[in-house]
Amino acid sequence: MKIEDISKKSEQLITIKPEDLMPLPYPYDTPDADPAMRELTQDQKNRYEASLDGVLAIGIPKPETKEIEEELIRKFLSGLAKLLTKENNWTFLQPLLHSLEYCVKCQICNDSCPVYVASGKQEIYRPTYRPEILRRIINKYLKKQSTLSLKLTGSDIELNWTLIARLAELSYRCTLCRRCAQVCPLGVDNGLISHEIRKIFSQEMGIAPKELHESGTVQQLKVGSSTGITPKALGNIISFMEDEIEEKTGKKIKIPVDKEGADILLLHNAGEFMAWPENTEAFAIIFEAAGINWTLSSELVGYDAVNYGVWYDDFQFAKIALRHAEVAKALKVKKISVGECGHAHKAMMVIADRILTGDLNIPRESAIPLLADLVINNKIKLDPGRNNFPITLHDPCNMVRLMGIVEPQRQILRKICPQFREMEPHGVDNYCCGGGSGFAIIQSMNFPDWRSAISGRVKLKQVLETFQDVISPDIPKYVCAPCSNCKGQIRDLFNYYSVFEKCNIFYGGLVELIANAMVDIEKPFIEWEWH
């Protein structure tokens, strides 16, 4: 396949065959171990632009007329031009231009990309492929290089709707894990280019996956949470959690809500309330035991730490970041602490750092160092014997490679989990779970199959290799993933491959392990019930 083939009309640019995929270890080392990825129906193919790889993350409807198609091409170009201006894109202009102008195409980054490697090295997933397309479009259509110059710089490419529709989908085949950037000796960041391409589609053309935009950021700003939880529903959930805590532990805990002047405003990914309430319950139990002065918020947006804007749209990102800060300011808390959610960590502490000014620049930190302080300094009584099963740690990219929070979670696990073992590689060299950059929540058509079979494949391989000596289903094992989206992806990945049934590998957060080790709780906090 040639680079310029992206403009050529065909039913599909590539087809992923099962035999191309990176092999997995036992018990998935047989040819039939991989479930068949669902194909799009003929109706879906007729309605949506699906000619990239037969997978749909966005699902862009096919333009009905030639005029609409031309308008979309014009808009793409105007968006690309805006992306290169200070006024419209000061937020990322310097990193973007650096990556566009100084890549020497040495391809050293290729093998660091889990999607490229897992797919059997499909050309379109190569980390340098997307940037190359963008560079060629810029050279030909914005810089308007001469024909000779285009030939010399290898920049000739035909910009048409086929290319644009494929590029839109292709920007959602990169998890933004930025492993490729980490190995680049010149500081080029091909992950950033995927991020910037997504921005053209969202900020200029209004095109983004429904789960990120309409039912993501838009819903969060309107209803209060991307999960759809309203402030009223939150009240019911909190009552339910209090009841469940009492049932599980015998402890009567009143979860503080909207407590003015608290030391800490704790922000959870609201997905935890819905899918893993045990995580938020464990936080409440630990904070209560440690005597921490904390609160949740019931204000719109204030009870959901997520900020999907960080993956596709600077404006949606900024709106949510601002709401979070406003909520904290109104509550007069000393600081915001972010629960187990990787992207919320990065969004709130790193990216929003240069959006929030004045009195909205409220101190923000991760809850994990605080938890480490409680555990290491014996501020709560723990018995490591209660966690005596094989445990490994998944490092969420946002929290680790992109923020440098590496050791506190390990200090906790080393202290309370006698059978803790590292994956290889780990820490800042970790592999993405496969659900990064919004993938974990995108449920569009056959995309969940792609993210299990392709983007999550290297993570599955790592987990299986880590537990290979105890792989028998007779031995319960635990993957600790201190991130909501990573947990969602691991849940779907394990479901896809029936990992729990075949290998008895469970997953969960970090605080659950701490609560499980608390000596004043009689029954095990972790219930080993698959959900």
Binding site: K105, C106, I108, P185, L221, A318, R354, E365, V400, E407
Partner: protein
């Protein structure tokens, strides 16, 4: 010929310095961006495992120990080792490394020629049997850097050309300019080698030529040396149009982007810059963006409501 050579040399050096300065200034004038760091950050205390100040409770209350020199030395070391390439793509490194060493040494060679010429103006004889230690040091340093650069550079140029042609991963993304560059650099290095090996084994012509340049008493050089000088000068003019600025922007990229973990503190200089940027008007046209309003105005509404 002597005038032509001199003018071409003056022009090419002034040209490359001016172009690189303009490009560097353009890069540095770009607005401050949102943070987008990647760990390990070399100036951080726990850089060995990629730790950051976010690992501490109440991190904003603690004094940060930043070691900029460590980052600088790391980048400097990488110029001479190209460690990532060695680890990740050895077959490429075997050619890339000599090519880069060729560049580093040929630049050093010209710098030494310049300072050697200054020394000559002050009456120091540069030769292996010079009465002055400085003259002997210059003699061998010029000879060493020149000859090693010609050999390694020529070898690397050919190797990279072959690699770009036959390595499937590289071939797909190679452009005619890549091939041209390798051939061009090969000609530069091989012409230097030819002039040294067959015509001027002590490289005295280069030293005399440079002395002429700084005293404005231009001299004629032999055909071999002249060919090399012309090619090298043309290369200096060509360089700003390639991605060669990465020798410099690599520093910028690491210091200003990849390792930029500077927090925005209330009332600080950074905050003032950000406030100015937030006052800029945007023209994005998606429905959820108010085209023509400032960044600040985009995010002001809706106000909090329960």
């Amino acid at each position: 010929m002597r005038i032509f050579l001199a003018i071409l040399t003056y022009f090419s050096y002034i040209f490359i310095i001016a172009m690189y300065t303009i490009k560097a200034a353009k890069y540095l004038k770009l607005p401050v961006h949102l943070r987008w760091e990647l760990y390990p950050v070399m100036h951080e205390e726990n850089y060995q495992y990629g730790g950051s100040y976010f690992e501490q409770v109440d991190w904003w209350t603690r004094i940060r120990q930043k070691r900029y020199l460590r980052g600088f030395l790391f980048l400097l070391k990488e110029y001479f080792v190209l460690g990532e390439y060695f680890q990740k793509h050895k077959a490429y490194w075997y050619f890339l490394y000599p090519w880069h060493i060729g560049f580093i040494l040929i630049i050093t060679f010209h710098i030494l020629c310049f300072f050697g010429a200054v020394a000559m103006v002050f009456g120091i004889t540069i030769s292996s049997s010079s009465q002055s230690i400085t003259g002997i040091v210059f003699y061998y340093a010029i000879l060493f850097t020149g000859v090693v650069s010609f050999v390694t550079g020529a070898f690397g140029s050919v190797g990279l050309l072959i690699k770009r042609i036959y390595d499937e991963n590289l071939k797909q993304y190679a452009t005619p300019l890549h091939y041209f560059t390798y051939i061009f650099t090969f000609l530069i290095f091989i012409s230097g080698f030819y002039a040294w090996y067959f015509i001027d084994p002590t490289l005295s012509e280069y030293r005399e030529f440079w002395k002429g340049l700084i005293t404005f008493k231009f001299i004629d050089v032999g055909c071999g040396a002249a060919t090399h000088i012309i090619l090298f000068n043309l290369f200096l003019v060509y360089l700003p149009y390639t991605r060669s600025m990465h020798y410099i922007t690599r520093f910028f990229g690491f210091c200003l982007i990849r390792w930029d973990d500077e927090p925005n503190m209330r009332g600080g200089k950074l905050e003032r810059k950000l406030q100015a940027l937030l006052n800029q008007k945007v023209s994005w046209s998606a429905a959820h963006i108010k085209s023509g309003k400032t960044w600040g105005e985009q995010v002001e509404e809706p106000k909090m409501r329960s």
